[in-house]
C-alpha cells in the first residue's frame, strides 16, 4: 500500500521525527518507540516493533489541545488531547524537534479557512453521481411529508426564501396556516436573531406540535402583537387543546438576567392561553467546564473508586444530562399525554433548544429511533435549524468561549435512553460514537459551518461527501441486535418515570474512555449478538431454500408419478437441476460470511477516518492513482503499511491483538 501525503500545507516541511516514545497512559515504564510523521491531515505514530508495526493516527481536526511539557532526561514530552477523548503523550528526544512539531501542530490543528479542512481533500473514490446520490439520502421534505405535512393546519412557508428573515434558519419552514407573512416577520423582529417560532415536530395522531424559537425581546415590559398572534396561531393549529406550553430551557435566573438586556421570556399576562415553564439547563460555558472536569477524572492514571465517583459527581456532568432529559421528557409528556403543543426556546434557540427538541422527538416517535430516522433527526433539529457546528466544535480557529459539547450531550442522552430501552433503537452504541467522531473530524461536509446559508454559499454538497451515505452503506456495523420493531417498548412513546432518579444515568465509558482499551469489557456482547443474529439469518435463508427445494422435489415426484407411463420430460429435470445449483451455493456463502465476521470487532470498526484513508489507498494502489491525485507534486510516498490489511482503525490498535483473537473465537 502506498500512502499519499501532501506536504504543501505544512509551512516547515517537518521531517519525520525518529526515536519518539508513545507513552502508555497507565504504565510509565512501557513506552513504544517509533517514528512520528506529520502529514497534511494526520499525525501518525508508527511503532518500530519489527513484527507488528502498530500505528496511531490522529486527524488534525480532532486535536483539541497540545501541551509542551517540561523537558526531562528522556526528552521533551508533548501531550495531545483530542476532541474524541483520545489522549496521546509523546516524548521527543530533541527539544528542538519537539518545538517544531508543536508549532506545526498548532498551526495544523487550527485552520483558518474552511478549504483547509479534511473534507475538501478527502476522496473516497466515489464518482460525482454517487456523491450526489449520497447527499440525497436524507431528505427533510420527505420527513415533513412523513409527519403528515402540509395539512389543514400547517403549511410550508417561503417567508425565509433567500434567508430574508433569518439567516440562521433554513429556507423551508413549516408554520401554522393562520400565521401570515406579516405575523411571521413581526414576530421575528421580536425574537433574538430573528429566530421566530417554527415547527420542529408534528404529531399527526393528536395534532400537537413542538415548535422552536429564540427568546422574545421582551425586556421588562415590551410586547409584540404579531408575536402574540404567532403563539395564538400555534395554539389554534391544534384544535383539541386550548393552551400551549412555552418552555424556557434556561434556569429562571439566567432568563431574568436577560431581561435587563432587553431580552427575556414570555409574560403569561400578555400571551393568552399559555402555560409557561422553566427547565433549568445550564449554559454552554457551564457545560464546557463540566466536561473539562469529567475528562480530568478520565485522565487520572489509576483512579481509585473514590477519585472516580467523587470526580464524576463534582463534574456535575450527569446532572446536566439529567436536566436535558427532564426537559425532553416534559415536552414528550405534554405532547403525548396532554395533547398540548409546546413552544421551546432558550436564548438563541440553537443549543439547548436543539437538544431538548430532539430528545423529545426521539421519545415520541419511533421513526427517530431507527438508523435513518436518527440521521433525519440530526439533520432536522441540528443541521437545518442552524446549530453552530463550526463555533461549538471549533472546526476553524475561533473564540474558545464558543466551544461547548452541546451535541455530545444530546448523543449521550440517546445512549442513556438506549441503556434503558435496549430493544427500542435500531442502531447501536458504535453508531453514536462514530457520529460524534465525525462531527469533529471534518471528514464529511455535513457538519461544516454554522448555518444552511453558509453551507450553500460554500457549495458544500458539490465539494464534499455526506456522512449519512457513508454510515448507511456500512449500516451492518451499526445495527442493534436487540432491536425489536414489534416490541411494545419500541412502538410509540418511550415512557420514562415521572422523575427519573439521577442514578439512572451512568458514566459512558464507551465514549469517554473509548481509547482506554483496558477500560472496556474485553468482549463485546453486541458483537456476539450480531454474530448470532447473522447466523440466524443465514439459517432462515437456508431454511427457505430448503423449503423451496422440497416443494420442487415434491412437485417433481408428483410429476414423476403422473408421467410414469410416459418418458420423463427432460425439461423439467433440467429446471430442477439449475435450482439445485443455486441452493448448493448457500452453504458456501454462509461459511464465507461467518469467516468475515470477526473483522467487525469494535476495535476495528471504522473508528477513525484513518480507516477510510487507508481503504482509499487500498483502492488507489491501482494504476489510476496518479490520474485521481491532482496534488501530485509534493506527494511523498510514506509507504506506511496499514495495519492488518487496512481493516482496523490504526489509532486504536494498541492491545488489539487480543481483542481480535477474542472476536475470532466467537465464530469458532
Amino acid at each position: 500500500m502506498v500512502l499519499v501525503v501532501v506536504w504543501e500545507l505544512i509551512e516547515k516541511p517537518a521531517e519525520n521525527v525518529e526515536n519518539v516514545r508513545l507513552v502508555d497512559r497507565i504504565s510509565s515504564k512501557k513506552a513504544a518507540l517509533g517514528t512520528l510523521y506529520l502529514t497534511a491531515t494526520h499525525v501518525i505514530f508508527v511503532e518500530n516493533a519489527p513484527d507488528a508495526r502498530k500505528e496511531t493516527w490522529i486527524l488534525h481536526s480532532q486535536i483539541s489541545t497540545i501541551e509542551k511539557q517540561a523537558t526531562t532526561a528522556t526528552g521533551c514530552p508533548l501531550l495531545i488531547r483530542c476532541k474524541n477523548f483520545q489522549t496521546v503523550q509523546l516524548i521527543i528526544p530533541q527539544e528542538r524537534d519537539c518545538h517544531d512539531v508543536y508549532i506545526s501542530l498548532i498551526r495544523l490543528a487550527r485552520p483558518v479557512k474552511y478549504e483547509e479542512l479534511y473534507c475538501f481533500s478527502f476522496n473516497p473514490k466515489l464518482d460525482k453521481e454517487e456523491r450526489e446520490q449520497g447527499w440525497l439520502l436524507i431528505d427533510l421534505s420527505e420527513e415533513y411529508k412523513r409527519m403528515g405535512l402540509p395539512n389543514n393546519y400547517w403549511q410550508l412557508s417561503d417567508v425565509n426564501r433567500d434567508y430574508r428573515v433569518c439567516d440562521s434558519y433554513p429556507t423551508e419552514l413549516y408554520v401554522p396556516k393562520s400565521a401570515t407573512a406579516h405575523i411571521i416577520v413581526g414576530s421575528s423582529k421580536f425574537r433574538s436573531r430573528r429566530r421566530f417560532p417554527a415547527l420542529s415536530y408534528y404529531c399527526k395522531d393528536n395534532h400537537a406540535s413542538i415548535c422552536r424559537s429564540s427568546q422574545p425581546l421582551s425586556g421588562f415590559s415590551a410586547r409584540c402583537l404579531e408575536d402574540e398572534q404567532m403563539l395564538q396561531a400555534i395554539r389554534k393549529a391544534n384544535p383539541e387543546s386550548d393552551f400551549i406550553y412555552v418552555v424556557d430551557t434556561r434556569p429562571k435566573l439566567n432568563a431574568m438576567a436577560n431581561r435587563a438586556a432587553g431580552k427575556g421570556y414570555e409574560n403569561e399576562d400578555n400571551y393568552s392561553n399559555i402555560k409557561f415553564q422553566f427547565i433549568g439547563i445550564e449554559n454552554i460555558h457551564v457545560m464546557r467546564n463540566s466536561l473539562q472536569k469529567m475528562l480530568e477524572v478520565c485522565e487520572l492514571k489509576s483512579p481509585l473508586m473514590s477519585d472516580f465517583l467523587w470526580g464524576l459527581e463534582n463534574s456535575g456532568w450527569l446532572r446536566h444530562i439529567k436536566a436535558i432529559m427532564d426537559a425532553g421528557i416534559f415536552i414528550a409528556k405534554a405532547v403525548s399525554e396532554e395533547g398540548a403543543s409546546v413552544l421551546v426556546h432558550c436564548s438563541d434557540g440553537w443549543d439547548r433548544t436543539a437538544q431538548v427538541c430532539s430528545v423529545a422527538s426521539l421519545l415520541l416517535d419511533s421513526h427517530y429511533r431507527t438508523l435513518k430516522g436518527f440521521m433525519v433527526l440530526i439533520e432536522k433539529d441540528w443541521i437545518s435549524f442552524g446549530h453552530k457546528f463550526n463555533h461549538r466544535y471549533g472546526n476553524l480557529d475561533g473564540d474558545p468561549k464558543e466551544i461547548s459539547p452541546v451535541i455530545d450531550q444530546f448523543i449521550e442522552c440517546v445512549w442513556q435512553l438506549m441503556e434503558q430501552f435496549p430493544c427500542a433503537f435500531e442502531f447501536n452504541e458504535r453508531f453514536l460514537i462514530h457520529i460524534q467522531h465525525h462531527i469533529y473530524s471534518c471528514q464529511f461536509g455535513n457538519f461544516l459551518c454554522n448555518s444552511q446559508k453558509e453551507r450553500r454559499e460554500l457549495k458544500i454538497q458539490e465539494r464534499t461527501y455526506s456522512l449519512w451515505d457513508h454510515l448507511w452503506k456500512n449500516r451492518a456495523d451499526y445495527l442493534n441486535p436487540l432491536f425489536r420493531a414489534d416490541h411494545s417498548q419500541t412502538q410509540g412513546t418511550l415512557h420514562l418515570p415521572t422523575t427519573p432518579c439521577n442514578f439512572m444515568y451512568k458514566f459512558w465509558s464507551g465514549m469517554y474512555n473509548r481509547f482506554e482499551k483496558g477500560m472496556q469489557p474485553r468482549q463485546s456482547v453486541t458483537d456476539y449478538l450480531m454474530a448470532v443474529k447473522e447466523e440466524t439469518q443465514q439459517l432462515e435463508e437456508e431454511l427457505e431454500a430448503l423449503e423451496e427445494r422440497l416443494e420442487k422435489i415434491q412437485k417433481v415426484q408428483l410429476n414423476c408419478t403422473k408421467v410414469k407411463s410416459k418418458q420423463s420430460e427432460p425439461s423439467k429435470y433440467s429446471g430442477f437441476s439449475t435450482s439445485d445449483n443455486s441452493t448448493a451455493n448457500t452453504p458456501q456463502d454462509y461459511s464465507g460470511n461467518m469467516k468475515s465476521f470477526p473483522s467487525r470487532s469494535p476495535s476495528q470498526g471504522d473508528e477513525d477516518s484513518a480507516l477510510i484513508l487507508t481503504q482509499d489507498n487500498l483502492k488507489s494502489s491501482d494504476p489510476d492513482l496518479s490520474a485521481n491525485s491532482d496534488q501530485e507534486s509534493g506527494v511523498e510516498d510514506l509507504s506506511c503499511r496499514s495495519p492488518s490489511g487496512g481493516e482496523c482503525a490504526p489509532s486504536e490498535d494498541s492491545g488489539k491483538d487480543r481483542d481480535s483473537d477474542e472476536a475470532v473465537f466467537l465464530t469458532a
Binding site: D24, I26, S27, K29, K30, C298, L300, P303, L304, M305, S306, D307, F308, L309, W310, L312, E313, G316, K322, C423, L482, R484, Q489, L496, C501, N502, F503, F507, S509, N513, G518, M519, P521, R522, Q523, V525, Y528, L529, V532, E535, T536, L539, E540, E542, L543, L546, L550, I553, D580, P587, S591, M594, G655, D657, R658, D659, E662, F665, L666, A668
Partner: protein, 694 residues
C-alpha cells in the same frame, strides 16, 4: 440435568419453637371465601407449614400490577397472583416468596403521608392501604390492599407478618427442607456437584486437578483436628498423617496448609490459617510445616490475604450502608448519589479484592512455585481470594458445574461460617463476605462476558439463596455442623436427587443442598442460568494440557517471599518460631514493608499494565480491570427495590436470540431428513454446516 428432580415431595422441619399463632388461622377469617380459597392456598404449603393469615391485594411497583393474595405462613410471606399455580416440582418460588428470615424492614402505608415502620412488637396504628416488605436480599414486595370490607384482613395479615417475622429471626433454628423417601424420579441423567463429604470426592477432585504430588489425608476424619475443616484434606504426598496432625496444631484453630488448587503449569495454590504463635513447635515440627508450605517447590510466596483488604467489620458496614442507600426512600439527594455510593465503600472493597486476586494469579502463573494464602482465621478472605484466583486461572471454574463445585469446595466444605456471617448469631461477626465474592464474580462477568458459562441470572439466584432457609448449605457454619444436623456422618457419598437410595440409608431423609435449584426455580428459569454468550470451544483451545509448563520456570532455590502491598519482599524464614523467643522472632521475620506499588504485579512481571489485556498472557488467564471506572454497581441486584431503575435491565436479552436460533436449528433439522438422498451428494450436509457454525 443436575438441578434436582421433579415430582419429589418435600418435608420441612418446622422451627424448634412452634409459633403459637395457629389459633389465629380460621377463627377470624371471613367464612365466605376462606373455605375454598383456604384449600387452594394450603395446597401450596410445605409439610409443617401453616397459613397464619391472608388478604387479597395487588402487587405494585413492578409492571404489570398483579392482583392476588398476600399470605403469611410460619415460614414465609408469599404473594400468590390470581391464577398462578405453584408447580409441584418447585415448592418454593424465587419470585413470589419472601422467607420470614429475609425480611429486613416492614412498612405499612395509609394514604399519602401515613407511614409506619413496623418492628418486632410494634402495634399497627391504622388500617394499612399498602404494605412494603423490604428483603435483606434487596428485593421489595409492595402490596396494596383492596378496600371495601376487607380492611380487617389487611390489618390482620400485616400484624401477623410483624409477629411471624419477629419469631423467626433466628436462622439457626431452621434445618432446611429434606427430601422424603418418596422422592424417586427417573429424570434424565444428572450432573452432580460433588459435596466433598467423602474421600472419593476428594480423590476425584485431586485427580481432576492433576495434583500428583498430593494425597487425600483422612486425618480429620472425626473432626478432631478442626471442626471447621472438612473431613478430608489434600496434603503433600511425602507428609505422614501423624506429621500432618502435629503440624496443623501450630496453626490457628488447627487450619494448617492444604492444597486449594493445582495449576497445570506446576504451581500450587495453598491456604492456611495464621501461625499459632503461642505454641512451641519442635524443630521437627517446624521442618514438617515448612515442607508442607513449600509443597515440593523451591519458591514459596506467603500471601497475607487480609493485607489491603477490608476487615469483616468493614464489609458488614459497607453492606449495611449499601442496603440503606438502595432503599427506595433513601434520603440521599440525587446529585449526591455518586458520593454516597462511594461512601458505602462497597465498590472499593470489590475493587481491592479484584486487584489482590489479579496479583495472586500472576504469582501463580509467572513461576512454578507454591503460593500460600494465609489469613488468621482462614475462613473468609482466603476462600474469597482462592475462588477468585481459580476463576481467573481455570476455565473449568467458569462453567456452571465448575463454579458450583468451586463454591462447594472453597466456601461450604472449607468451613466458611455462613450462619455467623450472614444471619448474625449475636456474636457480632456478621459480614457478608460471600456476597462480596458474588459481586466480584459479577464484575468478572461484566468484563469477560464470553468466558463464563453461567449468567448474571445465576449469580442473582446464588445471591438470593443465602436468604432462603431451605437447605443447610448456607444455614450452618461448618461441615461438622451440617453433618451433625443430618444425623450421622456416613451419608450418601454423592448427592443424587431422586436416585434410588441404598437400603442402609433408607431411613434417613436425604439432605438437599443449595445446588438443588429445582426447589425454587422452574425449568424455564434454570435455563436462564446459562450464559448464551459463553463459548467453550474457545476455552478448550487455550487450555490444553500439552501446554503445561510452557514457559513457567521454577524460581530460584530456597527463596521465600512475602507478598504484601503489591510487591514481593524476601523473607528470612517461613515460620516465625525458629531459634529464638517467639515474639522477637515474629518482629524480625517481617522485613520493613515496601511502599504500595502503583504498578500492578502483572506489569512488574511481564511489563504490561494488567488491565490492558495485551498479548503475552498465559493461556486461560484473565486479568480483571480494577480501576475506578471499571468497577460497576450491580444494579440488577441492588436496585431491585427501585423498579424505575430497572428499566432496560429486564428487557429482551441474549437468551431471546439464543431461543430463536435453536428454534430455527430445530426447524432446519426437521427439514433436513426429508431431502432426497441425491441432494446430499451434491451439497454438503446441512448438519455438518450447522455443527461447524454453532
Amino acid at each position: 440435568m443436575w438441578w434436582g428432580g421433579r415430582g419429589q415431595s418435600f418435608n420441612i422441619t418446622p422451627p424448634k419453637e412452634e409459633p403459637e399463632m395457629g389459633s389465629i388461622q380460621g377463627s377470624r377469617m371471613p367464612e365466605s371465601r376462606s373455605n375454598q380459597l383456604g384449600r387452594c392456598l394450603a395446597s401450596g404449603c410445605l409439610p409443617g407449614e401453616q397459613i397464619l393469615a391472608w388478604a387479597p391485594g395487588v402487587r405494585k411497583g413492578l409492571e404489570p400490577e398483579l392482583p392476588g393474595t398476600l399470605i403469611c405462613t410460619n415460614l414465609r410471606v408469599t404473594f400468590q397472583p390470581c391464577g398462578w399455580q405453584r408447580s409441584q416440582g418447585t415448592p418454593l418460588s424465587s419470585e413470589y416468596d419472601f422467607a420470614l428470615v429475609n425480611i429486613g424492614r416492614l412498612e405499612a402505608v395509609s394514604g399519602l403521608s401515613r407511614v409506619q415502620l413496623l418492628r418486632a412488637g410494634s402495634l399497627l396504628k391504622f388500617i394499612p392501604e399498602e404494605i412494603l416488605i423490604h428483603g435483606r436480599d434487596f428485593r421489595l414486595l409492595r402490596v396494596g390492599f383492596e378496600a371495601g370490607g376487607l380492611e380487617p384482613q389487611a390489618f390482620q395479615v400485616t400484624t401477623t407478618i410483624v409477629q411471624a417475622t419477629a419469631q423467626s429471626s433466628q436462622a439457626h433454628q431452621y434445618s432446611g427442607i429434606t427430601l422424603s423417601k418418596a422422592g424417586q424420579s427417573s429424570g434424565p441423567r444428572k450432573l452432580l456437584i460433588p459435596l466433598l463429604e467423602t474421600s472419593e470426592d476428594w480423590e476425584a477432585e485431586r485427580k481432576k486437578q492433576g495434583a500428583r504430588g498430593w494425597r487425600v489425608s483422612t486425618v480429620n476424619d472425626r473432626f478432631d483436628i478442626a471442626t471447621s475443616l472438612p473431613r478430608y484434606v489434600l496434603v503433600p504426598n511425602r507428609t505422614l498423617d501423624s506429621e500432618v496432625r502435629r503440624a496443623f496444631g501450630h496453626f490457628h484453630q488447627g487450619r494448617g496448609p492444604r492444597l486449594s488448587w493445582h495449576h497445570p503449569g506446576g504451581s500450587d495454590l495453598l491456604r492456611c490459617g495464621g501461625f499459632y504463635t503461642a505454641s512451641d513447635p519442635s524443630k521437627e515440627d517446624i521442618r514438617t510445616m515448612e515442607s508442607m508450605l513449600q509443597a515440593g517447590h523451591s519458591d514459596v510466596v506467603l500471601v497475607d490475604t487480609s493485607d489491603e483488604l477490608p476487615s469483616l467489620t468493614d464489609v458488614q458496614l459497607a453492606h449495611l450502608r449499601l442496603r440503606a442507600l438502595c432503599l427506595p426512600d433513601s434520603s440521599v439527594a440525587e446529585d449526591k448519589w455518586l458520593s454516597a455510593l462511594e461512601g458505602t465503600r462497597w465498590l472499593d472493597y470489590v475493587r481491592s479484592c479484584l486487584r489482590k486476586a489479579s496479583d495472586i494469579s500472576v504469582l501463580v502463573t509467572s513461576r512454578v512455585r507454591s503460593v500460600v494464602l494465609q489469613e488468621h482465621g482462614d475462613r473468609d478472605l482466603n476462600g474469597l481470594l482462592s475462588s477468585l484466583v481459580q476463576l481467573l486461572l481455570a476455565p473449568e471454574a467458569r462453567t456452571l458445574l465448575g463454579f458450583q463445585s468451586l463454591v462447594q469446595r472453597e466456601w461450604v466444605a472449607a468451613g466458611h461460617p455462613f450462619l455467623t456471617r450472614l444471619w448474625g448469631t449475636g456474636a457480632n461477626e456478621e459480614a457478608p463476605v460471600f456476597l462480596l465474592f458474588i459481586d466480584c464474580v459479577w464484575q468478572l462477568l461484566q468484563q469477560f462476558p464470553a468466558e463464563f458459562e453461567f449468567s448474571e441470572f445465576f449469580l442473582l439466584a446464588l445471591h438470593d439463596s443465602v436468604r432462603v432457609p431451605d437447605t443447610l448449605t448456607f444455614l450452618r457454619d461448618s461441615p461438622w455442623e451440617r453433618g451433625k444436623q443430618s444425623g450421622q456422618f456416613n451419608y450418601t457419598q454423592v448427592y443424587t436427587p431422586g436416585y434410588p437410595q441404598p437400603p442402609a440409608e433408607n431411613s434417613i431423609n436425604q439432605q438437599l443442598s443449595v445446588w438443588d435449584w429445582g426447589l425454587r426455580y422452574s425449568n424455564e428459569q434454570i435455563l436462564q442460568f446459562h450464559n448464551p454468550g459463553y463459548d467453550p470451544e474457545h476455552c478448550s483451545d487455550s487450555w490444553i494440557p500439552r501446554q503445561q509448563s510452557y514457559f513457567m520456570v521454577p524460581g530460584p532455590p530456597n527463596s521465600v517471599w512475602l507478598f504484601s502491598r503489591g510487591a514481593l519482599t524476601p523473607l528470612n524464614q517461613l515460620c516465625p518460631w525458629r531459634d529464638s523467643l517467639s515474639l522477637l522472632a515474629v518482629s524480625s521475620r517481617w522485613l520493613p514493608r515496601p511502599a504500595i506499588s502503583t504498578e500492578s504485579l502483572a506489569d512488574q512481571e511481564w511489563g504490561l499494565p494488567s488491565h490492558w489485556g495485551a498479548c503475552p498472557l498465559p493461556p486461560g488467564l484473565l486479568l480483571p480491570g480494577y480501576l475506578g471506572p471499571q468497577i460497576r454497581l450491580w444494579r440488577r441486584c441492588y436496585l431491585r427495590g427501585r423498579p424505575e431503575v430497572q428499566m432496560g435491565l429486564t428487557a429482551l436479552t441474549i437468551s431471546g436470540l439464543q431461543d430463536e436460533l435453536s428454534h430455527l436449528q430445530e426447524l432446519l433439522r426437521k427439514w433436513t431428513p426429508r431431502l432426497s438422498p441425491e441432494d446430499h451428494s451434491k451439497k454438503r450436509d446441512p448438519n455438518t454446516i450447522l455443527s461447524q457454525a454453532c
